[in-house]
Symmetry: C2
């Protein structure tokens, strides 16, 4: 699935934001400094365990696309990454996850309590940092996105193991739980970039479509990525009852017997490794990983269209490279 | 322990804020209206299950003490109650609590996931509502208090089952996890009341001392209240490993054998009902419930002193009545 041209381009383009992302790391460390050393250490552990910092990169590149290059983007990237990390910590409790990006989760090391509380702490710190930026629109964006994400996660939980979930419901969930934070990252970049509301909406829409594509691609990876690369076992989402587009598309086309087979696996799991392999075989039979990626690619294309009217610059090239990378990455 | 004079006074005084608290209920319901009916219903369930609304009452009375009587106090009371409820939801997951105020917890009805997520949703909504008030100092107060509460809960969790916990550490924990929200409620009332920073600090300090007293009294109730009145089993905190002042004071005075007995109970629990009864007997032997309440009373006195320079009014009388009630309540 990996197209090496896009990966090379992505790696090259990423160099453009490397120095910025280094400053994000320093800023994250600075804001984690707490009078409770355990909090700093635990939060640092989870924040430094191999995240790709794609949301900070989007915020910074969106700001640079609007010719902004001041210090606000580092603090606000930290806000976004704290929120993202808080949701991961709460996710891990809910999914009983033992591994995240190949490392033991906070939940497995220190227990549910600490994972919930460090998540709460990071949420609270994010709000506090966003407030310190003293821009009402930024703060509103941060506040709105946390409401949306929580809403998306509730709906996703309610739809767990519901094989009757529609494609539209799936899109609503990923829009709220994932695309909203991508959109907010880009929007905040545009806000500090000081462009007009109309143009800001385009940058925000770029983030939304990219987030949709990112999550759809991610949902295919659950079925294909080797466990050591993804950092978590395959079929993890499915085992947790998350019914994603590849499965929804499969059920739209499968025979009654095939549907029953998938339903049984989702509802009861299986100790037999052959069963998940057969599910994967069905996904390939109906080409639903490919069709999911094709739909993700449509979002990538829509994302790119949103910002094509902006003046060409390295930030724009890099945003394009990230957009292309999203559907071709294998991790 | 119940002193009926104080209770009668409290009930009478509470009538003064009854109409205000009714408006808080309407405001809470209004802000819970979500396009995801499950969220509204679940949040409404937990928010309407018998909370005493002491924090909204404090916010409103503090505002009225400063001659404020506008609509901001209802929205901001909702902010405070959402934050309080969010922490209860996360607490219940951590404590594996089945009952809260005599009702089944969200966690026991809908599971951990929903309890965590509705908590996250209420946090996010609280921030969003606080932001809509458009007062930087209010927003800062709300944001700071959530950081403090999360910090307090982390420290409390780290100190679980640690019988070496000092009195000072106990005070630090309850200041962060409980008194901070009481203080913030009063401070917000004073902010919208538009008084000077010096006088505002007094109102805030009133809330802090009241919160300290409230938590200390609450920590004695774990050992005395009948299960049907408290809505949760007695010795619940102790079983969860929360070492509170009555136990700390007991261990300061107990014989080595008695200490060992308590230590064994805290570490290993007991299926034998006689064991918790013997722990209670020890608490009475060293009078540590009484000494804890005496220390709570000192905080009540300090609280009252803070606001004695304010012009006498019904709001002040009511704050005094609430202060007296805190150490005498039996629920």
């Amino acid at each position: 699935m990996l197209k090496s041209v896009e990966l090379m381009l992505y790696k090259e383009m990423r160099r453009f934001v490397e120095a910025d992302l280094q400053r994000v790391e320093t800023t994250i460390a600075k804001h984690l400094d707490s009078d409770v050393p355990f909090i700093s250490e635990t939060a640092q552990y989870v924040l430094s365990s191999g995240g790709k910092r794609i949301r900070p990169a989007l915020l910074i590149l969106s700001a640079r696309l609007c010719s902004y290059a001041g210090p606000r983007m580092y603090d606000l990237s930290t806000v976004i990454e704290f929120i993202h990390t808080a949701t991961l910590l709460h996710d891990d409790v809910m999914d009983h996850a033992e591994l995240r990006r190949g490392n033991p989760t906070v939940h497995s090391l220190w227990g549910n309590e600490i994972s919930i509380l460090i998540g709460d702490y990071l949420y609270a710190k994010a709000m506090s940092l966003a407030l310190a930026d003293k821009d009402h629109l930024v703060m509103e964006t941060v506040s709105d996105v946390t409401v949306e994400m929580a809403k998306g996660q509730v709906i996703e939980t309610l739809k767990q193991r519901d094989l009757g979930i529609s494609e539209a419901e799936y899109y609503r969930i990923i829009a709220l739980k994932t695309a909203s934070l991508f959109a907010a990252s880009c929007k905040i970049g545009a806000i500090i970039g000081g462009i007009s509301p109309q143009r800001r909406a385009k940058v925000e829409a770029f983030g939304h479509h990219l987030g949709m594509a990112f999550q759809m691609a991610d949902d295919t990876l659950d079925f294909v990525a080797p466990a050591d690369k993804l950092g978590k076992p395959v079929h993890n989402d499915l085992k947790e009852g998350k019914i994603t587009l590849p499965i929804i598309s499969l059920l739209q086309q499968a025979s009654p017997e095939e549907s029953q087979f998938v339903t049984d696996y989702v509802n009861n799991g299986s100790d037999d490794d052959a069963v998940p392999r057969q599910v994967t075989t069905l996904l390939h039979k109906y080409d639903t990983l490919k069709s999911t990626l094709a739909k993700a690619q449509e979002h990538v294309d829509q994302a790119k269209q949103q910002i094509e009217s902006f003046a060409p610059c390295t930030a724009m090239d890099t945003l394009y490279a990230i957009a292309d990378y999203v559907t071709t990455r294998d991790v």
